[in-house]
Amino acid sequence: MSSNDCSLQRTALYDLHIEAGAKMVPFAGYDMPVQYPLGIKKEHLHSREKAGLFDVSHMGQVVLKGQRAARALERLVPVDIVDLGEMCQRYALFTNEQGGVMDDLMVTNTGEQLFLVVNAACKEQDIEHLKTHLADQCEIEVLEDRALLALQGPKAGEVFAKLAPESADMVFMTAKNLSINGIDCFVTRSGYTGEDGFEISVANHQAEELAKILLADNDVEWIGLGARDSLRLEAGLCLYGNDLNNEISPVEASLMWALSKPRRADGERPGGYIGADVIMQQMQEGVTRKRVGIKALGKMPVRDGVELVDENDTVVGKVSSGGFGPAFGGPVAMGYVPTEMAQEGVKLDALVRGKKVPVEVVKLPFVKQNYFRG
């Protein structure tokens, strides 16, 4: 089944998706697989039990080159890039003047350059942003000819080690250049499902061959964007556009862990990024709202946009992401509530189609994160 929209771009793996019987939908300008014949629920569970293969080639891959690249990038993110070890990866955020988040991204120091992965829907804006602020500091190259595959799940390590034994000792958030059947791959041990796994950057013309090699393993199945969303939600990870946007700061988003120590007020290189004054003040004085996990006490899913009310029926917050967590076995959601309510066990009601659904503030994630730390 195809969306038949000619204005949509296709990834290098488009033909394989069609062959696999994927249901294609438009996403961020691409014709992408939302699910395969297995269906979202089974795809989700497969990724939690074995290993799922995701085509995430729609995401932007950008390289920053030059002596000053790390220092330059620190002007745009509240994250330690200068001291990011060789072949190490870090989660980062592009912030704006108001302290909001323009996008979230992954940064890897390959030794020679910085390798960035940005969200598909934000990539044009991000590239423009990088060019505006960093063009005089470093060389910016957008990798248009590369695909990105993610292999995620408890079996990912085993599957990958069979093909590339040198991957076995990689720990979470590190990178390696590996060869699989003669195909050059740039691999990071990371992902966005809460599971152990890898993200593999490969030349477009070899992407199909690599995907077929991975799919030949009995433990590997194609997984679509539908399950990718439910997996990241169960893992308590933010979706840009839902849980993060230009009006939400990293402090409000409960992403304090992503704000590196050396960039904080008492660090070696305090501030110095866009919106630093706002964000540092928030770290000092606190914020009025926070992102929390929200568990619906019934079976009815509480989805994004649903309002949260207190016992006086006053609207106090809103769900930013919500749905059903197949591994959790019930509805899962995240949302923003006043800081004083951002505590485990606080009971609220969600207004779903005019009906009150009792919910409770819970700790994230909904399922145990399963990263490989050696």
Binding site: I40, G226, M300
Partner: protein, 124 residues
């Protein structure tokens, strides 16, 4: 002649011949919705009006409304769906959602037979 008819909203309506009908969703609808996770059942005694929302079916992906294909009164709901909405994915034609006492049996005449419904799904 079959006692099962279909609505353009992808419901099947089984005429029990005693002024009552069973209403469910078709296999086509089930496939389009994907894995069901919740069925918001109407309440017994609810009056339903043709074309109006009577229930919400939630899949992993999204919430979809179920519209009344006839006028009448809800006399029974399939409570098994509260715990196992996936029964509909397993066999949509065998798992009814609600039983309705018709206000006017002639409502059934406005519904499609299987051939007409087949044609509709092929167009979609």
């Amino acid at each position: 002649m079959s006692n099962i008819k279909y609505s353009a909203e992808h419901e099947w309506i089984q005429d029990n011949g005693d002024g009552t009908v069973l209403i469910g969703i078709t296999d086509f609808a089930q496939q389009q919705l994907g894995d069901l996770v919740f069925v918001e059942l109407p309440e017994v005694g609810d009056e339903i009006t043709k074309g109006e929302e009577i229930s919400v079916i939630e899949s992993v992906k999204a919430a979809s409304d179920l519209y009344a294909p006839v006028d009448g009164t809800v006399i029974e709901v399939n409570e098994a769906l509260e715990d196992e909405p996936e029964l509909i994915n397993e066999d949509a034609m065998a798992n009814w959602i609600l039983k309705v006492e018709l206000a006017d049996t002639s409502d059934l005449d406005d519904l499609m037979d299987e051939a007409a419904y087949q044609e509709l799904t092929e167009e979609e």
